[in-house]
């Protein structure tokens, strides 16, 4: 008996309804053992196992549940299901950039990039992201966090795609060459510093100094400092004077709605 027939059979013993087209099963608490809820795109059959009246009823559902599992369906709790749908929709919104990098990044980095798109989409909707960013950090370490920060500040779209396209024009271009450059960009983040709540002023000043020195050595002529929230903006402002007094640096900043981006240009004489 097919899964569809088993579902029909189960339903017919409880509710005389005709089912046609796509059917989904949900295990939710309700008032009945079996409830039939026609929806726009599909017909939803809701089962509340706690209301089963006999072992025979449970056995029928067990068979269906096992068939669904064998069919490869994903059993997911309601809240994470919503999260999964939200991630899907964010990935769709960021399809253009993601498509560019699909197959051009290692699978794990591409997975992080999809998470980054989700976090960016939440951030744009002013939804909290701290805990989620922490989950990315716990799983993928600093690299994961850097990819999320770089994505959210537009580096993938505005810097990495043009960088890739430029590299591709070179006669000795290879995937390995790009990978190695990408690896350096996301590990060291030479162009950017992201200020978090946990960064102290001393750590921030040291990081800026270290990156400026390193960039000078490698001929990189800029560094951006990104901060979100008044606390981080204040932190960034408080360390800037020491760099503003350096005649070999030109500093400008954009600030709006709780964001700041400080652009430090390393002047030619110093490169």
């Amino acid at each position: 008996m097919s899964l569809f027939d088993k579902i029909k059979d189960l339903l017919s013993s409880f509710q005389p309804v005709k089912i046609q087209g796509p059917v989904t099963i949900a295990f939710l608490s309700g008032n009945k053992f079996i409830d039939f809820r026609p929806e726009k795109k599909e017909q939803k059959i809701v089962i509340d196992l706690s209301r089963a009246e006999s072992q025979a009823q449970i056995d029928k559902v067990k068979e269906i549940a096992k068939d669904l599992r064998e069919d490869g369906q994903l059993f997911l709790e309601s809240e994470p299901k919503k999260t999964l749908e939200d991630i899907e929709s964010s990935v769709e919104q960021h399809r253009q950039v993601l498509s560019f990098f699909k197959g051009r990044l290692l699978p794990e980095d591409y997975k992080i990039l999809k998470l980054a798109a989700y976090l960016k989409s939440r951030f744009d909707r002013r939804l909290p992201i701290d805990e989620l960013l922490q989950q990315v950090y716990a799983r993928y370490g600093q690299r994961g966090k850097n990819i999320c920060n770089l994505y959210s500040s537009g580096y993938f779209e505005n810097s990495f795609i043009p960088f890739y396209e430029k590299m591709q024009q070179s006669s000795n271009f290879s995937f390995t060459n790009f990978q190695s450059s990408f690896d350096m960009l996301v590990t060291d983040c030479p162009f950017a510093t992201f200020v978090s709540k946990r960064t102290t002023k001393a750590e921030l000043a040291a990081e800026i100094r270290m990156k400026l020195e390193k960039n000078r050595r490698y001929g990189i002529t800029e560094l951006n400092i990104h901060g979100i929230s008044l606390e981080n903006i204040e932190k960034i402002r408080s360390v800037l004077p020491v760099f503003e007094s350096d005649p070999l640096l030109k500093i400008s900043h954009d600030e709006s709605n709780g964001f700041i981006r400080v652009h430090i240009e390393i002047l030619p004489d110093s490169v």
Partner: protein
């Protein structure tokens, strides 16, 4: 997106019982046949209250964490 069978917190224990799973005294998910704790793909034991998803593939137990959910998002 993957085809999803939704369940709520209240139905979790009943649903997993259909698959021969239960929870032990400390709240960890176990295989009812041998009493052994099941593991996530990362090799971690998982408490029933942390378990939010399940899929065939031997058996995959999913935690409520976006880094686990991302595996089920299409490209």
């Amino acid at each position: 997106m993957e085809r999803v069978v939704e369940f709520d917190k209240a139905s979790k224990l009943h649903l997993f019982a259909l698959f021969g799973k239960a929870s032990d005294a400390e709240g960890y998910v176990i295989d009812s046949t041998n009493g052994e704790r099941v593991l996530t793909r990362d090799g971690e034991e998982i408490r029933l209250n942390e378990l939010v998803g399940y899929k065939k593939g031997s058996e995959i137990f999913i935690k409520n964490d976006i880094t686990s959910l991302i595996d089920y998002v299409g490209d």
